[in-house]
């Protein structure tokens, strides 16, 4: 079974600085999808960025980028120019590319709580 591990329960960053959140996963599949979700204090989960495993190029969304290392099964999130609004719980998630049945679900890590210091 696939697993997702986030080894940093909490992180802190100064405003305008850069921070990297770690995520590793375990799978025997070669094609899959990886996601980073943000959960602010309002509690609604928001998709930050996605990566398709067959793409070698790292995904980027404005100040958010990933470092996808397929062989190492690592998927870290880098937040540049951190802002106060970035303070939230961040979840890494995995989904198989196969269709149907149990493979439709997203598997989440336990999250990293990011604090942004002014």
């Amino acid at each position: 079974a696939q697993t997702v591990t986030q080894s940093q329960p909490e992180m802190s960053v100064q405003e305008a600085e850069t921070v990297t959140l770690s995520c590793t996963y375990d799978t025997s599949e070669s094609d899959y999808y990886l996601f980073w979700y943000k959960q602010p204090p309002s509690r609604q989960m928001i998709l930050v960025i996605r990566q398709e495993a067959y793409k070698q190029q790292n995904a980027t969304e404005n100040r958010f980028s990933v470092n996808f290392q397929k062989a190492a099964k690592s998927f870290s999130l880098k937040i540049s120019d951190s802002q106060l609004g970035d303070a939230a719980m961040y979840f890494c998630a995995y989904r198989s590319s196969l269709y149907g049945g149990a493979t439709n679900k997203l598997i989440f890590g336990t999250g990293t709580l990011l604090a942004v210091q002014p």
Partner: protein, 114 residues
């Protein structure tokens, strides 16, 4: 555009009472629907998912049940709540035809069982 709504947003219930949380998706048809629970300080646990009307898959044995009476409606229920049912419940949906398959989440429902 697609939207997802959950209600109630907050619920305080005594042990042994029934539960009904509702989730509705608008602007799409035949979505995959999911119920997740997030306990305090922990990650998200998948409880149920549904690929169509009346089709429910349960991920973990528990005191809860789910139903999908209509294409875009997903209901989480319990006949008798336990203290351990307290938590933050999130409904989510996914476009089946979409390749990347990210989930879109509702606002969540905070359940406190006393």
């Amino acid at each position: 555009s697609q939207t997802i709504h959950q209600w109630p947003a907050t619920l305080v219930q005594p042990v042994g009472s029934p539960l009904s949380l509702e989730c509705t998706v608008e602007g799409t048809s035949n979505p995959n629907l999911y119920w997740y629970r997030q306990a305090a300080g922990r990650g998200l646990q998948l409880l149920f998912y549904s690929v169509g009307i009346g089709q429910i898959s349960s991920e973990v044995p528990q005191n809860l049940s789910a139903s999908r009476p209509q294409d875009r409606q997903f209901i989480l229920s319990s006949k008798k709540l336990l203290l351990s049912d307290s938590g933050f419940y999130l409904c989510a949906w996914r476009v089946i035809a979409g390749r990347t398959g990210e989930l879109f989440f509702g606002e969540g429902s905070r359940l406190t069982v006393l």
